[in-house]
Structure formats: C-alpha cells, structure tokens
Point group: D2
Chain length 346, copies 4
C-alpha cells in the first residue's frame, strides 16, 4: 500500500508513519516529492491490510492510503489463473458450454411451475429457477410459498432431469434449502449479508451470488471471498443490473462486468436479463448481448401466463418468447466459439 502524507507533514510525522509500518513488520519506502511525501509499505499480507490502512488513514497527518493489490485473494485470477468450472450435479458452469437457467420468478402453484419448467426444458434450459422465499420491497407483496415451494421445484425439476436454483434469504434456512436445491442463490439485497455468506460458505452446495444493486465489482468479489474463505469453492457470480439514475429500465444491466470479472477472477459469471431490465421487450436483446460479452450462462424468468404472475410478470417471458430467445442466442453462442449446454436426456 501507498501512504500519501498530508501537504505539510513534518519529518517527524513521516518518521512516525515509517516506524508504525516497520513495527508491524513490513518494509517502509518513502519517496520525497516537492509537494507530497509518499511511503510505500511492502509485504503487508491481505489478512492485515484493511486494518492497517484504516489505522494509518486515521492519522491527521496522512492524506490518504492507497491499496495496490485487490482486496481479495481466493477470488482473484492471480491466485487461480485457470477459470473455475462449477459442477452443478453434472452440469458444468464456467466451461466451454453456455448454460441456461430459466423458470418462473416465483413458485406459485404446481401447475404454473410445471408448465414453465416443461417449456424451459424443451427450449434448452438445464436448470430450473423459481423463488420459494421472495424478497419483496413491499410487505404487501407475495412472499413465496416457503418449503412447499421448495418441494414443488424439486419434484418438477426431477421430472425433467433439471437442476434447481432457488434463493435462500434467512441464515436459519440454509440447510433446509440445500436439501432441495442444487444452487443456493444469494439475492441482490443480501450480497452484503455477511452472516448469510458465512453460512453458505460452510455448505458444499454451489452458491450463486447476485451482484448487489449498489455494489462495485470489487465488493462483489469480496462477497465471493467470504464464501470461498468459508471453504466452499463452488461460487458462481450473476450480474443482474445496478441502480442508476435511469428510470426507463428497472436497473442498468452492466454487461462490462462480464469481461471485467473474467479478467479479475476465475469464477464463472452469468447474467440475469430479466431483473437487469425489468422489461420483457428488452430481455432477448440483452440475453444475446450477455452471451456475446462472454457470459457463462443466463438466468431468465419465464411464466406460462405472465399476466397472472404474482410477481414480476412485466419482465417474464412467455414460453414461446423464451423459445425465441434460445433460437436467437444459439448463433451468438456459436459466434463466440462456444456451445449451448444440452439438458440431460429424459
């Protein structure tokens, strides 16, 4: 790290910072400029850096402290140069194949989920999505069927040889959800719910971490670091849009996060164009763009009758629209030199 001293820092103050760095056991290398002195601290391990930076920044004669290394280690590509492929009970996420995860926003009934799953599977989805526990801005919105929803998901996914991804919101439910799900989804609002991250870090079930709508890429990778550090190496990232001043779309889907994550990290990254735009009419175009940008998969909301959906109908595709989406991404997948993962034969 680099310590920038305040404009009129005295020799004594510079010496004080050097001494602190050395007392912690690291090298201190001052560079004297005309208007500022900066001090490079060499050898500070990741585990101590945040603390030491904060400590130096608190000194009145320090202007700021600049981190040189990224604030995560296990999530970084430097640590693990090859890309990680997460094995979701036989479905590889992060390899040469592009994987489709699709299904209803929320599990409402057996019939609705069945109809959605059937169509998604037929169109090429390997993984069934669906919310049993739903985070809702309004306390008056539908909050999900809970464990009954988990059972429906598992049952129907098994019918179609699909895997299950579903959100876990409550630390107390991690084991329960892991009994039914093949991927534990951490929703955007919980990206910095550290107790939850620690809890899924104790599991071996793959974890998909949606980007917090307020989160810088660096913070998202730090969230992944919590899970990796907990001992669970099966982390998938999911870009789902960030919050900006634009109001035409519900979020601003930041597709540059896809190649950015690929250069910073070894973890797979997929894209949710449904949440990312909030508008059915934009989903397919953004699905194409996501694959072209290098996404390892897509997470798409599909409802047999969007106008009857209890949540997010406006961004759900109909079954035939999803079929059309797959038809449109197929040549894009080929254009980037990949193949679409084919669901297991039934």
């Amino acid at each position: 790290m680099i310590v920038v001293m305040a404009p009129h820092a005295t020799q004594e103050q510079i010496r004080d910072v050097e001494r602190r760095i050395q007392e912690w056991g690291y090298g201190a290398h001052p560079i004297y400029g005309a208007e500022r002195t900066v001090i490079g601290a060499v050898g500070v391990p990741e585990a101590d850096k945040a603390r030491y930076m904060e400590s130096l920044e608190a000194l009145p004669y320090v202007e700021r402290v600049i981190a040189i290394l990224r604030p995560y280690k296990f999530a970084s590509r430097e640590f693990h140069p090859d890309g990680t492929v997460v094995d979701v009970r036989g479905v590889p996420v992060g390899g040469r194949e592009v994987v489709l995860m699709a299904g209803p926003c929320t599990v409402e009934t057996y019939e609705q989920t069945y109809a959605s799953a059937k169509a998604c599977r037929a169109a090429g989805a390997s993984i069934l999505r669906g919310g049993a526990y739903k985070p809702s801005t309004s306390p008056y919105s539908f909050q999900g069927l809970g464990v009954e929803g988990l059972r429906i998901l598992r049952d129907i996914a098994d019918c179609f040889q699909m895997r299950v991804i579903t959100e876990v919101m409550d630390v107390r439910n991690v084991d329960l959800v892991a009994q039914y799900a093949d991927i534990l989804q951490i929703g955007t609002r919980n990206m910095q719910n550290y107790d939850l991250l620690r809890e899924v870090g104790r599991s071996r079930t793959p974890v998909l971490i949606k980007r917090g709508m307020w989160a810088r890429i660096e913070e998202w990778l730090q969230a992944a670091e919590y899970v990796l550090l907990g001992g669970n190496p099966n982390v998938i990232l999911c870009e789902r849009g960030i919050r900006t001043f634009e109001t035409y779309t519900r979020n601003t889907l930041d597709l540059s996060a896809v190649p950015a994550v690929k250069e910073l990290s070894h973890l797979p990254v997929i894209v949710d164009p449904s949440q990312g735009t909030g508008k059915r009419s934009l989903v397919t175009a953004m699905a194409r763009a996501a694959v072209a940008a290098g996404a390892d998969g897509l997470l798409v909301e599909v409802h047999p009758h969007p106008e009857e959906a209890l949540k997010d109908g406006a961004q759900s595709l109909t079954c035939s629209q999803f079929e059309q989406l797959v038809a449109e991404i197929r040549p894009i997948v080929a254009a980037v030199g990949r193949t679409l993962h084919a669901p297991d034969a039934g």
Copy 2:
C-alpha cells in the same frame, strides 16, 4: 392506480382491463385521449395493490401502471398526522429535543469504550453507540467482539446512565442483542433483509433503520412498514448517505431526506454524519447542517485514539473534537427552536 394502455390498444383490450379491475371488485374509469387511453382504478386496498399492478403491467397491451398512493400506510403521515416520539427508556426521540448518540464505531476493548463513553456523556450524549457485530466489506476486517462487546456496552452505558444502540445483523441474534440494547440498529446493508425486519418487528425494543445506500426514500419507508406491520411501533429512521458517483466522500449524505421524511412520515429521523461523509474533517459541518435541516438527533463515531481504531478511524472524531461538535450544534439547535436533550444526571 392509473393504467396507461399501449398506443394502439383496441377497444376489446381496453374492455379487458376494465373487466379485470371490476372482477377484483374495484371501479374502472377510462379516459379516452387522442393518443392513449388511461383507466383509473378506484378502491384498490394497499394490501392488494402491488400484486394487481404487476398483473396489469404484464399484459402486452398495457404500457405501464402508475401508483397514485404511496406504497406504505402505517409509516405515512396521512395515517398518523402527529409526529411519533419513540421512548428509549426515558429518552424521547422525535420530540422537541435533539438527541445525541455517540461512541466508538466498534467495541474493541473495555478501556477504549469506557474512554469514549465518558467523553461522549460529558459532552452531552445520552445514547452510547458501538458495534459488537460489525458488517465489513472485507472478510479480513475485524468482525466485532460479539456478545462480549454487548456486555461491555451495557456495563459502561449503565455506569454513565446512558442508553445503548448497537447493530443486529443476524436473525438468530435478535433476542440476544435485545437483552443488552435499548435500540436495535438495522445497518444500511440489511435495510432490505426482510427476515431481519420481520424479526425486529416482533420485538418491542425500539428499532433504528439506517437507509440502504441504494434505497429511495420510498423504499426506506417500506422497510419501516415491515417493522410497523410486524407490531413494533418504535421505529426511528437514520439517514447515513447514499452511494453516488462522487468519490471524495465515502457516501453522499442526503440531508434533503430529513425534511422529506418529515412530510411523508410521522417517524423520527436522525442523521449519521460519520458514515455519511467518511471524513473526520467534514463531520462537524454536516452535523450542524443535519440539525438545521430538522434532524431529531445525531449518531456520531467518537474514538479516544482514532489512529488505533480497528475500523473507520478516518471518520471518527476524537473526544475533544466531539466536544467541539456539540459546542457548534448547540446554537443551531436553539436557532431551530429546539433544545438538546440532557443526559440523565448520574
């Protein structure tokens, strides 16, 4: 709510929307314009509105649905025209008095907390703040002393006749934290952790909800609605800065949220200028501004030796700086016709 039909919606489609609204039991009032038809839906109760809006928005011949009423009820000033005063074991928050909450960012040791509390109490703070469970972006940062921190806080607060505010992050800890704390703080990252909001809604201990760094005022009030709906009427709001493109400050403290909350809601609102700016040099000016804007209190980080703090030293005031802050806000408090709450005599 107002349903705006798509540009070329047919008579039949307009009738379909009217019929849906009527089938739900509400009045449908179409207005035919030259380029758009809009339909007003009258009588839709809050508890059903979110669902019906989503359902109509999912129709392909509906352009959008506009809510006319605010999406919260118990948090609204219309529901409760007089301002709410939350009683924190005898300290009234939201009344004529401005209340000071201060203390270290994090409880590190008994001595550090004692020194901070002593100085804060002497300067005029009635409520002792301090983190026992700390949310940290980095898994390598200090995560707090846990229950040991709670005990230290309670013990020292009692020495000085102060109340205790501390953050609860984990649903499993709500009862535990409530044994030690007089206010349960919901941190910015957990503003939309609905399980946690429901859990503190079951308590009778006052709850302080920090604004999510990504949250619109409306969403913040919906978070309060979760707690109120759960049965806990003792909700305090705390503006602590939102995330913007500005990088000089850690967050952008949105002081206009103070008068905005006052017109939209009956709940007390306080301001955290420490988190809100992330820079010690700006804290006092923003504390003055917060009180001038109408805040019911302040939440300030004070550390006897900021450069030794394990977290957030750069934004912590020293004890003498806090004393100076109180000296500077005292005439502002008077200028807005209020008084500073005096801590209990010891």
Copy 3:
C-alpha cells in the same frame, strides 16, 4: 396528463384545476378515489404540455402531475414507425448493415492519423473518427489541433474513400467543421448545450448525439428532438456509457439503451465501447455485445501506438487489436441477421 390532487384538496380546489384545464381548451376528466382525486387532461398538444404541467404542479393543492405521452414527437417511433436510415454520403447508418467508425481519439499528427486510418480501413471501417477539438476535463490536457486537425482528417479520409466524423464543441465552428466533416459529433458533455443543438439543427450534415453521461434515455431523445425540430432529420444516437458509482470502468456502458431506443425511436443508434469502458481490455467484448444487442454501428478508438497517444491511450486499441475486434464481431453481425458494411473500393 394526469393531475394528482393533494390528499385533502377541497371540491373548490378540484374545480379550480378543472377550470384551468378547460380554459386552456382541453378536456378535464376527474376520477374520485377514497384518498385522492385525479384529473385526466385530454387533448393537450406537445408544444404546450411542459408549460401547463409546470403551472399545475406549482399549485399548493396539487401533489404531482404525470405525463402520459413521451416528451418528444419527431424522435418517437409512433411518429415515424419505420427506422430511419441516415445517409452519410453513401454510407447508410441505421439499415441492415452494421457500420464501423474508427480512428484515433485525437488527431495528433498526419502520420499517426494516416497509420490509424489505413489500418481501420483495411479492417473494415468506412468512417474515420478523430478529434480536432477535444473536450478535456483538465485545462492542462491537449485540446486538439483545431482546423489543422480537420484538414488532416479530411485529406486522409479522402485517400481511403472514408467518411469523416469529428466533434464540434463551439457554436461558432459549426459551419467550419461541416466543411470538413460528414458527421458532426455532439460530445457527451454538450448533449444539453441547446445553442449547439439548435445550430446543428440548421445544418443538413448528419449529426451524431452522444448520450450525456448523466442523461436518461428520455432526455437524450429530447436532445435529438431539438435537432429534428430545427429541420435536420439526419440524427444518429450514440451510447457511450453513463456515470455510476462503479469505478473499475470509466463509465457504465448501458447496452439496454440500444433496444430501448429501438422501441422508443426510429433513429439509428450506435455504441462507443472505448469511451464506454475506458479500458482497452474490455473494448472487444463490449463491441461484440453491442452488435448482439442490435447496435447499428460502432465507434472505436484505434491508435498505431497507444502509449504515445496524447489522450486516452489506455482505451485505444492497437491496429492489430482492431483487426481482431472486427474478426470477432463479424460472426455476431451474421448471427443477428445483418451484414458488415464494406468500405468503398479504393
């Protein structure tokens, strides 16, 4: 438009709003709800709407006024259902072909521009970009060669049968720049420089309007409306990233703006992945994604020796990287059923 009355508006106040609407010559249709009265105003022409909305919003017994129609007319797809193809001296922008615009950020020397143009033309670019007048955040940065830069651009473009796009910043230079350029570029910082928009509206030279880094899509289309209303129908839009809290990229490239513009407007829309990311390593992936999202073209910075560039070297591709970019987008162009525009034979 829809006028939402304040909660406790009296019958008299409701009547007052109705009367105002009727006096302006429009229809007023009140809908009485339990908690709010709303009044639909029918027949208000675009040219008067902004004014009337502001006037009603200023009344103390009006809560807010909601526009139903989009605040632009000539830029809307409803006005002009077919997509517009802008003819750039024989190069069609907005049709079935995807058009490449490439060249150096800034014209520095004849040699540098020549080398860049030659390579861009060889790789498939039809339009040469290059700044003669450069907007720079710092007054100490290079500000461009001015008219000498324009001459270099024109001369070299003619050598290679290319068209020229270059930025005009100063209203006094519009005619001068139009003598040399085939497309007048309005930079992001000038998207709401209305005098400049009016001035290029008087020209017949095609105008490319970059999205303001702070601009909602609606405001961007209103900027186009200024030019169209001025009489110049040859408007191209260019998404170049918006400003968000993310700092890893220089801007957040909002690719959802591409399909959004396509549904709201008939104007062509291209994408600038160089400005949009600010990082060379991300440009090609975002170029692929832009084409997949439906962009009508790309605007790319290419420098023979980026490390010698006077501006924006970090986001400029080398000549061989640009060649690679074209190789990578070619199959994407085909995948979306389009073809790459081939430069004129020399």
Copy 4:
C-alpha cells in the same frame, strides 16, 4: 504520480517505465513488492501530468497510474491559503457575510420580475437572479426573453440597488450578457462546456459555476481552473444538486460539497436549494442546512405567483415564503458566527 506495474511485469518493462519518466526529466523511484512493483515519479509539473499519466496507462504492462496531487492548481487552497472574497460591485461573496441571491427562475414580464425583486430586496437579498436565456430539457419549453430579459433585469435591479446574476449559455453572448450582469452564471449543463469557460475566463466579470449534475467535486474545481487560468480570478462555486437514483427530489443536494470545497479550495461556495430539491416544501429546510454547513450564500427562486410561472413554479417560493426563509436562516447565520449581508440602502 505512482505507476503500478502489471502483475508479471518483467525487469525490462520496469526499466522501460523508469526510462520514460527520466527522459521526460523527472525522478523515478521504484519500490519492489512481492506481487507488484510500483514506481514513484517525482517532479512532474501539473501542466504535463495528465498527458504523461495517460501515456503510461496506455502501456500494456502498466496496471494503472495514480495521481498524488489534485489536478488543479490555481483553484486549490494550497496555492492560496486564504479564502477568496469575490467583489460583486461592492457586495462581497466569500467573506464573513452570507449573501442572498434571489428572484424568479425566468424573467417573464417586467411586472413579475419587479414584484419578485421588490419582495426579495425587502426580505434581505442583495443580488437579483433571473434567467433571460433558459436551458430547457424540452425544446417545447419557454426558452427565455433573451436580451429583452437582460434589460428588464438590469433596470429593475438598479431600481432596488441590487446586483444581477444571470446565465450565459452561448459563447457568442458573453460580452452582451456581461454588459447587463454583475455575475455571469454557468449553468449545470455547461459546467464542462470548455469554450464557454475559456470565454468567461477572458472577462473580468465575476463568474458563478454551478456544479454539473454529474460532476465530481474534483471536476468542478477543474472547471474553475479553466476560468482562473484564463485570467479571471473572480470565481464563485454553486452546489445545486447531483443526479442520483432518488426520484422524490429532482436532484440530491450534496451539502457535504460545501465543507469539502472549503478544505480543497479558496473559492467561495454558495448553495441553490431550489434546483437542489425541485420541491418548494423542502427549500427552506435545505437553505437552513446550507448556511449551517458553511455556505457563503444562497441562490433561491422566488415568484410572486408560482402557479403562473412559465418554468419551475413547483420549486419557486412565494414572496412571503421567502420572507419566512430569511427569518429562519437569520438565527442560523448568527449560530455559525456570521452575519447576513444587508442590501444597499435605497
């Protein structure tokens, strides 16, 4: 500046960067860490820094380049430790006195401007604001009376011994507007209109630069640097809100910019709570807060009949509301140890 080398940069590449720095005539000081080498460059003058930073960042073996010094000089407090007081024909802005600038958003008629000016002057405003040239997002909104508006402003200001502040948008009008105005206002949309900044830099008339709604504080100070560098030392800054995701307010008024500017720069800074909130009901609270935060003045929109205003009526105070605002800020002014500037006796 600090050059951070890419992770696996070779000795030769490190030497190459050192050589480049030395060839430019500066000192190069490498620090070798375990995972990164950084090189401090010492002695680089402000005028060359932007260029050299960009040049090094373009090298593929450089990860990033970090500026240590602020990218402005004449605007910095280090350059000019004492605060600047701008003399507006006898009215001092930036000294011990707080100055009120008020008047209509737009000059519509002589009568409306007269009524507003009279009331503002009576309440304590020394400087009359009013737009003759209005930037409007919609081309269908009122665009101002132009030179006729300037004449009205001047005439009425002279009646009341007031000074005039009005916006100049077009480089061609700078001399014209300076004939009538005592302060040339650069609007938020033109904060990075560099031709305009250069043009007002040639004037000696005081210039007020509104913060761009997308601008970081650093960029705002760089805009001031353009004017100062042009030779005009009479620069006043005006915070008027930035664009964020919040939609309840029109902008998010960033009051922390007030103490931030005070520590970074010697220039006076005032606040516009009308544009900053867009809501009449919030203006007075934010005016109080602005003064408490240390603002040197306020810029407030006042209209005798807001509901008849051609622009921005919803954020304009009535004359009696402005009188009330002044009554409420008076004790705040005193509380921060300042006095309200008294208008000249008539």
